[in-house]
Amino acid sequence: MKYQSQAVAKPYFVAAIILFVAQILFGLILGLQYVVGDFLFPEIPFNVARMVHTNALIVWLLFGFMGATYYLVPEEAETELYAPWLARLMFWIFLAAAGATVAGYLLVPYATLAEITMNNLFPTMGREFLEQPTITKIGIVIVALAFLFNVGMTVLKGRKTVVNLVLLLGLVGLAVFFLFSFYVPDNLVLDKFYWWWVVHLWVEGVWELILGAILAFVLIKVTGVDREVIEKWLYVIIALALVTGIIGTGHHFYWIGTPEYWQWWGSIFSALEPLPFFMMTVFAFNMINRRRRNHPNKVATLWAMGTAVMAFLGAGVWGFMHTLSPINYYTHGTQITAAHGHMAFYGAYVMIVLTIISYAMPTLRGRTAANSNTSQVLEMWSFWLMTVSMVFITLFLTGAGVLQAYLQRVSEAPESFMVVQEKIALFYWMREVAGVVFLIGLVLYILSFFIGNREPEAVLEPAG
């Protein structure tokens, strides 16, 4: 840690990990409800557990992005953070808002939560991933503005690196596109159309800038490769991401009442969306092969490589699988979508946050560069358990999805939704088992923070 104010990142990372645990526990509840339909019914209905699962994910990724920003922006800008107190204050406000919202989901029926928070005055609730009460959404905007102000002022007074500019651009985009969550017209088609301006332009747009910037930062640090080279790659990757991803939004406009020309625009551009992820894989491996030093934090390097590979598989390959409109006609809204969603979020965004945590946390906890070997080995075990089990979760959901699409939509005698669900239950059971393995990986991950702390730090090897 080169600057004192980088320390504000630590509580953000801790909160991220705690919410990650909540997300996985509720994921296991959901997985079980798929096969034991009355599990926890009516106390925690599926939709409530799902809100906790998805909202916890989004919020912990945001905590992770903010923590990453507070950690790397001062170091890149070579100056202290503009207002560390503001970052600490916003942390507590964001945590309180997130905690209160989750408590609201779990303690009262959703309709009651809507009533308490006066949703009828300015209705924004009840849309997938944007279920938060309007007051929470306003809170998110306030936190985002304070955050952007703080980070923007820091960048302005310091060295302006490409990593910082790209990160800031991504974060501004994140805040700007979130504003569309306040637009909820009565017209369902318009509602859905602009809902994607938040959801798609986040995960297949501006979030990729954030991902690219964090990955570039970590690669500069662990490989020692010339910044000029890495920054050029970063520009090419994010250029491809936005050139394909913006019009690629069209792959959501096939069947929601929008004009049919979107089937062409969406298919062509989104078919190219794997390219930036492929470039990212090539980039990461290239930089590591050309490294000028061996960094003692081996596990952070492992996470960085893992991100590059899994983001390409999850977002790139699994996205491409069902993005062409003639295929999507049969797979739209099936378990294929769920399979893609799981591996893409894990591979791209979960793993990049775990990458920066892995890189930053040792220094935030007073080490010079890395944890002890014992701790790193345990963290590597957690990497493999979580990553491999996520691959299996994805494969099982894909199996379920292919069967579902066939039995319900392709076969000559299409069967009803619930009949098909029972026929594919075996795949849901296997997915749940893989989910338990994921949880074991997560437990090891958390243990790695508490084990080997008294042992000496892993040593810096001489240049290889």
Binding site: Q33, Y34, V36, G37, D38, F41, P42, P45, F46, N47, V48, R50, M51, Y110, A111, A114, N119, N120, P123, G126, E128, E131, V162, D186, N187, L188, V189, K192, F193, E228, V229, E231, W233, Y235, I238, A239, L242, V243, I246, I247, T249, G250, Y254, W255, I256, G257, T258, P259, W262, Q263, W265, Y329, H332, G333, A338, Q408, R409, P414, S416, F417
Partner: protein
């Protein structure tokens, strides 16, 4: 990537490409907005339909169901439930009303929401309106 391809060229491709394709996206959005009245069944959006949509949202129906293929995959598609139930609002209302309070042992069940008759009617009207949106022939068959 070395030699003649410089960082500033990469930067220009990023800014130029992003701005160009975002403007193209805006142009397509503008065109879509003009084309929508022919497709989105907006003539059917009465105050009752709007109320039905609010009830749909305030009970987080999307947390289990899909609507035009978007949402959760735990319960059936509802964009075409009106046609699946034989173009009958009564059948939809009857189904929602008859959900057991304690669920069905071992099986998935929709919660009992205790809606008033007025709310049930609004929900059914909303689902009828949704079923009449021009969705380019999706879903492939009545099973959704």
């Amino acid at each position: 990537m070395s030699g003649t391809f410089t960082k500033s060229m990469a930067r220009n491709i990023f800014y130029g490409g992003s701005v160009f394709f975002f403007l193209l996206f805006l142009a397509l959005t503008f065109n879509t907005t003009k084309a929508l009245p022919e497709r989105d069944n907006r003539g059917a959006i009465s105050p009752v339909v709007a109320k039905g949509k609010l009830i749909w949202e305030e009970n987080d129906c999307i947390g289990c169901h899909t609507l035009l293929g978007e949402g959760a995959y735990f319960a059936p598609e509802l964009g075409n439930v009106y046609t699946r139930y034989g173009n009958s609002k009564e059948a939809i209302i009857g189904f929602i009303k008859s959900r057991p309070v304690d669920g069905i042992p071992g099986r998935r069940s929709m919660p009992q929401f205790n809606f008033s008759d007025e709310e049930l009617n609004a929900l059914a009207e909303f689902l009828k309106y949704t079923s009449e949106i021009n969705t380019a022939g999706w879903p492939p068959n009545v099973q959704g």
